[in-house]
Every structure is written in C-alpha cells, then in structure tokens.
C-alpha cells in the first residue's frame, strides 16, 4: 500500500501544528466559533449531540496492521475503547475532548494517517472498491488513481470553500462495489481498444433529493484524470448554488442547468486545465502505482480445508473469489446480530491487525458496507483465520445477508438525526437470527438512515429504511428496489411509515414476500422487484394479505 513520502509526512505534521494553533486561537477568542467551524471541519472534527466526534480518513478504505493498531491505541487512550466504521470508509471516534484532538492527530500522523477533509465543503476522502487489487473481476487497480486524487485534492487552494461537500468514488472492477453512481463524481475504469480510461459520471447523491450520477464523459483517457476533475470542480465552484444549502450539491446544478450545458462548460475549461499539468502528475502516478504491486506470491492448495459446519457456513457467505485460485477475499462482518453495525472495539482492532500481519499480506480494507476486509488470504489459512475471528466475536456468517445491515449512527449520536437507527438495526438482525431464514433468502441489502441526509444509503438498498420524526414520534419509511451496483436504481417508497414497534415485522413480511415471489433462489430481490413492481409488496405491507404470487 501507499507509504508516505517525506512530503506527505511534512505536510501532515504541519497541518497538525496548524490545527493545534487554531484550537488555541479559538480558545483565546482570536477565532470566532463561526470562523473556527470550517477549520475544525476541514480537520474532521464535528460537534455531535453529546460530544465532539473525530472522523479519521482511511483513504480508499485501505490500511495496514500498524495503522489499525494505532486506531486501537487512539480509541483506548482518548476515546471510550471503540470506533465506528462508516459508509464512506472512514472511522469515527465519538467521544474526544477538543483539547486532546491535536494529540490524537499527532498520534495518527505517526502512522501516516490524518483527518484532513473528512468534513467541510471540500473534496472528501475518495472512496474505492474494498476488493481492489484482489477481485477476480478487476479491469485495473483503482487505488493508484485514488491516491493521486487524494494528493491533488488535499489542501487544493481553489477548492477548500466549495458550495457544499464533494464526494468522489472510484472502481476498477466490472461490478460496482463503490456505489459510484451515488457520488458527485463517479469514476469507473474501462479498457477501450488497449487504452485505459474512465467513464466519468457527475451529479449522483442521496440525501433529500436522491439522484443517480449521469455520464458526462463516456471515455476519458486516464492521463487526463486530474485536469478533467479540476475542470468539473472549477465549474462547480463558480456556478454551484450558494443561496440554499439544500440546493448546493452539484446534482442540483446538473438538474437545473442540464447535463449538456455543464458538459460544454467543463470541456471548455478542461482545455485550459489540461495545459497546466506538465507531466509531474504522470511521474507521481507511476511512483504511487509501485506501492500497489500485487503481494509477493505465496502458494497453497486451491481448495478450502475441511472444517466444522460453522466454518463452512462462514466460508459460504464471507468469502469472495480472489484473482488467484489459491487465495480468497475474506469479509469480516461487523454485524454480529445485536451489535452496533460498524462498531469495533480496540481489542477487536488488534485481532484484525494481527490476522492481517500473519495471514493477509498486512493489508486491511474497510468496506462501504461497514465491514472489514482481508483481501489476500491463502485458502490454507482460512481455518486459522476463522478460529481467531470467532474468538474475538467477529465470525458472524452473514456478509451480504439481510442482517449485514448498513446503519448510520442516527439519534444515538448524530445532531441531525430525526430517529434512531442503531436499535432498529439490532432488532431486525436479532429477529432474522431467530428465524434462521437468511441463508435461504441469500444476498439482500438492508440499509437504515436516521434522517433525510441518507448517510445509511437507504435509497440504494433492496430494503431501505428512513427514520423520521412525526409529532414527536419516531416513524420509519420504507423504500424498495434500490440498487447500488452498475444497474443502479433509487428505491421507491412503499407508502405510509411504520412505528418503531411495527418496522421489524414489516421487514419480515417483505422478506417472506420475496421468498414467495422469486422464481428460484437465483432471482435476486432487485430482479424480482423489476419484474413485479411495488404492488405485491404493498399488499403484504398494508393489506395484511399474502404476497399474491401469480404463478
């Protein structure tokens, strides 16, 4: 993985010194709270319901064992012994004290980590396919481009005060595991006649006005990536709306000005930005790519050793095909029914670090589904990995199943929340564990957001749940048929919401209806939904009926 060059090290240290100074100036009044706010946000520091929250970047979701151990140290020393992984592949510490934050940032800098631009109206942490460099369906590794984008966007002088936050996601595989269509810029690596390039989409975003990104350039030669992205940002910075923060994302500009107009403006600007890049970016990319060479080969048998039924069940759900027949990609579920989705204790972080070091080429990933991935594990080592995970309460065999729920922090932490999401996720997961049904159901995405901002990506789940507040009471709206992949779709609302007591039963009815409606176990929820529409599902939700299966 990428190791800091001297320049990165100096930059991050200088940034910590600067923030230490800003904290002092805030405390002695030279900076007003209004002025301090964007500065602390640029360094990942939020004010939540009960305390500050520090959001640390895990660029493109990649970290090594040393970094994971340092996160554990930070959690133990300055927080309450745990951290929370988010849908944007970051980690959040929920209980830091303002005066400790510069020390926390210094500790992170010791291992080449930072919290820069994890918040604020700037280009945020670039997210990527968590299986990058390992997946069997990969066209090209997106991580070198993601790292180049990280360096380009870090402290970019023109783009620190954009109309609104700006999110970029990148994938290099056939399957889109980075939800690129839900980002301000989505990048998909393609090969066209021997040339590598990107399909570039803009204007995706969830929140109160969910929209899927639209293709602004069908094929951008990879050498043009930075100047093209710089042209998009330049147009957005000049013309994006600043009069209403709910209309300030680039998706609204696409919607109001039209894709064609924006494309013309971007292409005209691109002519100029292209001329400003003198070639150093290419040399840097080549240098960065060297850090992402495939792990040194270590061979083994191509079959998974036998084991207990629990081990086999875990292998069935939590492994993904690696490009090498003697390896597997391991998803470590942070969704053991009853636990807080995405939370991990310091002790668990240390177990994960040890496993990565011993069996996983020192490589760990955080997925947007709030799980941890060991991307390169020899099949021969899987029993040992499973045993160690089981000992740490990390062996839930549910990756990709209905209890592998994405949930934002919601009203338990978040100042913007309108309802709780964590307890709902816990109850749904426990219910399905009791039903012993989810392995039969197969892959199913269930996402929960605690307010309209949609950090839980509920719009792109098979079953999406949005927590709202109606006359002082939490109520949960449901959407169905969302899809985060290459066949991206925004879910459709089923109708009136459900109370906190009703929502678990409602989800259960939807899942049972899907079992009734599908032609066979191969037909996914998204396929069934496209075939039968919302009607049969509404019937079981609101009319107390059985799912009427036409067949």
């Amino acid at each position: 993985m990428y190791a800091y060059a001297e320049f990165d090290e100096d930059f991050v240290r200088a940034r910590v010194r600067q923030f230490r100074d800003q904290v002092e100036r805030r405390i002695d009044g030279r900076l007003t709270e209004d002025e301090f706010k964007p500065l602390r946000l640029m360094n990942g520091l939020y004010l939540q319901l009960h305390a500050y929250m520090l959001r640390v970047a895990i660029p493109y979701g990649t970290l090594n064992s040393r970094q994971m151990r340092q996160l554990a140290m930070v959690a133990d020393r300055w927080d309450r012994g745990y951290g929370h992984f988010t849908t944007r592949q970051n980690i959040q510490f929920n209980w830091p004290r303002l005066r400790d934050v510069p020390d926390m940032l210094d500790a992170l800098a010791d291992v080449g980590m930072h919290a820069i631009q994890t918040s604020g109206n700037c280009v945020r942490n670039v997210t990527a396919d968590p299986f990058a460099g390992a997946a069997a369906d990969e066209i090209a590794d997106p991580r070198p481009y993601a790292e180049l984008l990280r360096q380009w966007s870090t402290d970019h002088p023109e783009f620190q005060f954009l109309p609104r936050k700006f999110k970029i996601a990148i994938t290099g595989a056939e399957e889109d595991r980075a939800v690129t269509r839900a980002h301000d810029i989505g990048l998909r690596l393609l090969r066209q006649g021997g040339e590598t390039g990107f399909e570039v989409s803009i204007g995706g975003g969830l929140g109160r006005t969910p929209m899927l990104g639209r293709v602004i350039r069908a094929f951008l030669p990879e050498a043009d990536l930075l100047p093209y992205v710089e042209a998009i940002l330049g147009v957005y910075n000049r013309l994006g709306r600043r009069d209403n923060k709910y209309k300030a994302r680039i998706k609204i500009a696409v919607h109001e000005m039209g894709l064609e107009t924006l494309r013309e403006l971007v292409e005209a600007r691109f002519v100029k930005t292209r001329a400003e890049f003198g070639g150093a970016d290419r040399a840097m990319l080549a240098g960065i790519a060297g850090h992402f060479a495939p792990p040194a080969s270590c061979h083994g048998p191509e079959t998974i050793p036998p084991g207990s039924p629990a081990f086999r069940a875990w292998c069935d759900t939590n492994l993904t095909r690696h490009r090498r027949a003697d390896h597997a990609i391991v998803t470590v579920s942070l969704k053991t029914p009853g636990q807080v989705p995405g939370d991990v204790t310091a002790a668990q972080m240390r177990v994960l670090a040890d496993l990565a070091e011993r069996y996983g080429h020192d490589d760990l990933r955080i997925s947007h589904r709030q799980n941890v991935v060991l991307p390169h594990v020899r099949k021969a080592d899987l029993p040992a990995v499973f045993e160690a995970l089981a000992g740490a309460g990390l062996a839930a065999a549910n990756a990709g199943l209905v209890s592998d729920i994405i949930a934002c922090p919601g009203l338990d932490y978040c100042a913007l929340a309108t309802a709780r999401s964590i307890p709902v996720a816990q109850r749904i997961a426990l219910r399905f564990e009791a039903l012993k049904l989810e392995h039969e159901v197969g892959p199913l995405r269930l996402n929960i957001s605690g307010c309209i901002n949609a950090c839980g990506h509920h719009h792109v789940a098979d079953i999406g749940i949005l927590g709202l507040e109606r006359a002082g009471v939490e109520t949960y709206q449901m959407t169905l048929g969302g899809d985060p992949t290459v066949t991206a779709a925004i879910g459709e609302r089923t109708g009136p919401g459900f109370s906190s007591d009703e929502i678990v039963g409602a989800v259960e009815r939807i899942v049972l209806a899907y079992l009734d409606l599908r032609r066979d176990a191969e037909e996914t929820f998204a396929e069934v939904f496209r075939r039968v529409g919302l009607g049969p599902f509404q019937q079981v939700l609101y009319e107390g009926g059985e799912a009427t299966d036409a067949a």
Partner: protein, 146 residues
C-alpha cells in the same frame, strides 16, 4: 495603522495601508474608457474583461463571507486569461486562507479594521510561511528521467 476606510492591505511583507486615491470601478458600470482598477463581484463573469486585461493595473475580487470560495476560482481564471496586474482579494478572508489566496494568484488581501485587530499581523505572517502544497508538486514539469 489603518487606511482611510479603516482597511488594511496584507501582503507577504505584512500589514500596510492602502495606496491613497486608488479607485476601483465595478465591472457592472464600466464605461467607454478602461479604468486602471476594476472591482469584481463573486458572481461576475471575467470573460467580459478579456479584451481589456492588458490595460488594467489592478483587479479586486470581493469575498462577502470567508466561506464563499468563488473568488479563488475567479482569480485562477483571470491568471489563466493572462492577467499580469495586481490581484486583490477583499472583504472577509481569515488569516488561514492567506496561503490559498496566494496560491490562486492573489497578490494581496484587503481586510477591515475589526478583523485586523482580532487577527493581528503575526497570524497572517504565520500563515504566509506555510510551505508548498500538493498542487505545486503535481502541476510541475515532468522530472528528468535518469
């Protein structure tokens, strides 16, 4: 140490009072004759100035609030268009933004007396010392191979 309107000009050399008598004409009311100095609002399109740029000595871009970053792109656009005169950011910028302004092509920043009192010269000098950013590296020429 303040100018007529109480404003302060910040450059790499620190605080100074504005040159007396320099008059900026807003883009919206430009007449026949090209003025020596022009005021741009954040929403202005600098394309209108293209034919005049060689004759203009100074352009001042307004920052109504420090969180409105349009001026940074405007500055870069003017430099891209070949403007070589003095470029000034004026209004609400805070000391921490000084390096950004410089990197985008501004030569100086004009702030009010209240802000200058709250964020004294030392804060701006400290900010001015910040080193090269990533962008300078990335936009450089290709290093010589070998």
């Amino acid at each position: 140490m303040t100018g007529a309107g109480g404003s302060i000009i910040v450059t790499d050399a620190g605080f100074a009072v504005p040159v007396p008598g320099e008059r900026f004409v807003p883009l919206a009311i430009l007449g026949e004759a090209t003025p020596r100095a022009v005021d741009l609002a954040p929403e202005d399109d600098p394309a209108a100035l293209a034919p005049l740029l060689h004759a203009i000595a100074a352009i001042r871009i307004a920052f109504p609030v420090f969180s409105d970053g349009r001026g940074f792109s405007l500055a870069r656009d003017l430099r891209r268009m070949g403007f070589r005169g003095r470029l000034r950011a004026a209004g609400h910028l805070i000391a921490d933004q000084y390096p950004l302004a410089r990197a985008c092509g501004f030569d100086e920043v004009e702030i009010g007396a209240e802000l200058a009192a709250r964020q004294p010269e030392a804060d701006w000098r400290c900010a001015a010392c910040r080193g090269r950013g990533y962008l300078d590296r990335i936009k450089g020429p290709e290093p010589n191979p070998g």
